[in-house]
Amino acid sequence: MSGASLIRVEGLAKRYGNGGEPEVEVLHDIRLEIRPGEFVAVMGQSGSGKSTFMNILGCLDTPSAGHYYFDGRDAGGLAPDELAALRNASFGFVFQGFNLLRRVNALDNVALPLLYAGIGKGERRARARRLLEEMGLATHAHHLPNQLSGGQQQRVAIARALANHPRVILADEPTGNLDTQTSQEVMGIFQRLNREQGITLILVTHEAEIAGYASRLVRFLDGRIVHDGPVHPQ
């Protein structure tokens, strides 16, 4: 693969704590480049800083030091509302706990990012319906999250992440709450999206088997990247 990097991180650090408390630095001097269309698995023990790193990549959190360039733009200089717009247009989030709105049906959950993108109601519905069809959930459009299985909920969440044609999907332990078979289904979907639509995928997991779906593996330890290379070394 060649071309400019989609994500470039330089000297990134994240510190917590303020005032009297001693500061804790959870990320130290991170350097990383991700090109468009990559499928990256991020691994590491809990507390290794991988989730914090993901939050910064997804513009949900801001770094304490260093630079984060998304598509050549320094995300560090963006205002909260500009970050919101960036999240809306360029990122899709898939969480371990699905994070669907509890009292909202599948269709409206999928349509929600489109509402914040300023798209009209008719098109919101139509696009959300199409995405649910792609996920094999056409008949479940009007079900509430608690009427769906874990696998189905995660597929609704993936449909929601795809609603605005994101360039990057950030998945934080997406199979953590799923059984083996459902995990395989979900990972199959991710792989297909990556291969067929060229969506960049960044996946946090602690299961080697799940990481096996990716093409590149980044390993964190104590707030540093200790390994960066292909998943299946030739």
Partner: protein, 407 residues
């Protein structure tokens, strides 16, 4: 498009929790209903006073013979030299006086056929009507000629007409006052109670001279009980009072430094005092009702704060998928505003209903004005904005990563 779509998110959230929404709204309903009802009752009281003021005539003075003072002892009204019709005439010639009517009065027994009735009989001149602005329902006013000739003619009030004549038309009929036959020439339009609570419809008016000579003989010829004088306008009231006092002191030969032996009473001032107290009552009622509106507003803030805390994770999710701070702010503000406006509408309807009920059951006069309804409505919206802003602002300022992590 985007901002227009966000409110529908708030309404969905409200519809999902109807009990909480309803209870929060109840605070607003009660507050607005109280304000509307209290304003209606307060304005009703003001309207009653204003009617009484209007029925009295405007810019009037009542001039009474005062207390004679003898050896430091004051003897009470009427003990001094009485006023006379000539005094009234002299007052009428003052530059700022538009009307001056001498009057006398006394109680008398009235008889017609087998009915009899006791009431107050006034001796007046036609000039009196100009000052009092009193209409005649049927028949007509007696004339100057009647006054000069001390004719036995009478104008009777509605209550007197009903008691003596029942449903029959009394005009042209004869009745007896103190056994002297009088012809009824007119029936007065109903005027209601005066400020001192006297029923103005339970009166009989006869020519002044007739009253003086035939009904209530006075020790001094030409003596009358009081004079009603009207000043040209509200602005000339003070001048008129001064002029009347100076004139009467001169006519009654009171030495400089001597105490007045007559009283000039400003009727408008009395009425204005009543109007001021009615306004004060109206304001008090409104203020008390406003407190309940304030309590309702605090209830909204309370519930909204709980709602924001409960939905922290949802806010995080919304932010992650692209909601801006403004979208979150608008969503929660819309929720608070909707509760207030809907509650305000229901409250206004209940308030109008409550005022109507008070009018029906307690026989109160109430005045419901559009302004009062709009006022309480605007107040409700302001309360919603004011108390909804802090929780909404709090929600909008959440950091996405922390909101998402919230359990």
């Amino acid at each position: 498009m985007r901002l227009a779509a966000v409110p529908s998110e708030s309404w969905r959230a409200m519809a999902l929790n109807p009990l909480r929404t309803g209870l929060t709204m109840l605070g607003m309903v009660i507050g607005v209903a109280a304000v509307v009802a209290m304003l209606a009752i307060g304005q009703g009281a003001q309207a009653v006073v204003n009617q009484q003021i209007a029925s009295m005539g405007s810019n009037l003075f009542l001039i009474l013979p005062g207390a004679a003072t003898s050896g430091g002892m004051r003897m009470g009204i009427g003990t001094a030299l009485p006023l006379t019709a000539a005094d009234a005439q002299a007052i009428g010639e003052l530059p700022t006086v538009t009307a001056s009517a001498p009057m006398t009065s006394g109680t008398a027994q009235l008889i017609h056929a087998s009915n009899n009735w006791s009431t107050l009989v006034y001796g007046i001149t036609p000039e009196f009507w100009a000052a009092r602005d009193w209409k005649i329902d049927s028949g007509e006013m007696f004339s100057e000629t009647d006054v000069r000739s001390a004719a036995r003619v009478a104008l009777i009030g509605r209550v007197v007409a009903e008691n003596l004549f029942g449903n029959a038309d009394p005009v042209g009929e004869t009745m007896r006052i103190r056994n002297i036959p009088f012809t009824v020439v007119g029936v007065l339009a109903p005027k209601g109670q005066s400020l001192d609570g006297r029923d103005q419809d339970d009166t009989v008016h006869v020519p002044l001279t007739t009253a003086q000579r035939r009904l209530f003989g006075m020790q001094i010829p030409g003596a009358i009980r009081f004079i009603i004088a009207q000043s040209a306008s509200l602005e000339t009231m003070d001048t008129t009072e001064e002029e009347i006092k100076r004139l009467l002191r001169q006519r009654r030969r009171i030495p400089p430094g001597g105490e007045d032996d007559f009283t000039v009473r400003n009727l408008t001032a009395t009425a204005e005092a009543a109007a001021i107290s009615a306004r004060a009552m109206s304001f008090m009622l409104g203020a008390i009702a406003s407190v309940s509106l304030l309590v309702g507003g605090i209830g909204i803030m309370n519930i909204m704060l709980v709602s924001v805390t409960e939905r922290t994770r949802e806010i995080g999710v919304r932010m992650a998928i692209g909601a801006r701070r403004r979208d979150i702010l608008v969503q929660f503000l819309t929720e608070a505003l909707t509760i207030c406006i809907l509650g305000g509408a229901i409250g206004a309807a209940l308030g109008v209903g409550g005022a109507w009920l008070a009018a029906e059951l307690a026989d109160m006069q109430v005045v419901v004005t559009v302004a009062a309804i709009l006022l309480s409505f605007g107040f409700a919206a302001a309360v919603g904005l004011f108390f909804g802003f802090y929780p909404a602002h709090k929600a909008a300022r959440l950091r996405p990563v922390e909101a998402l992590r919230y359990e």
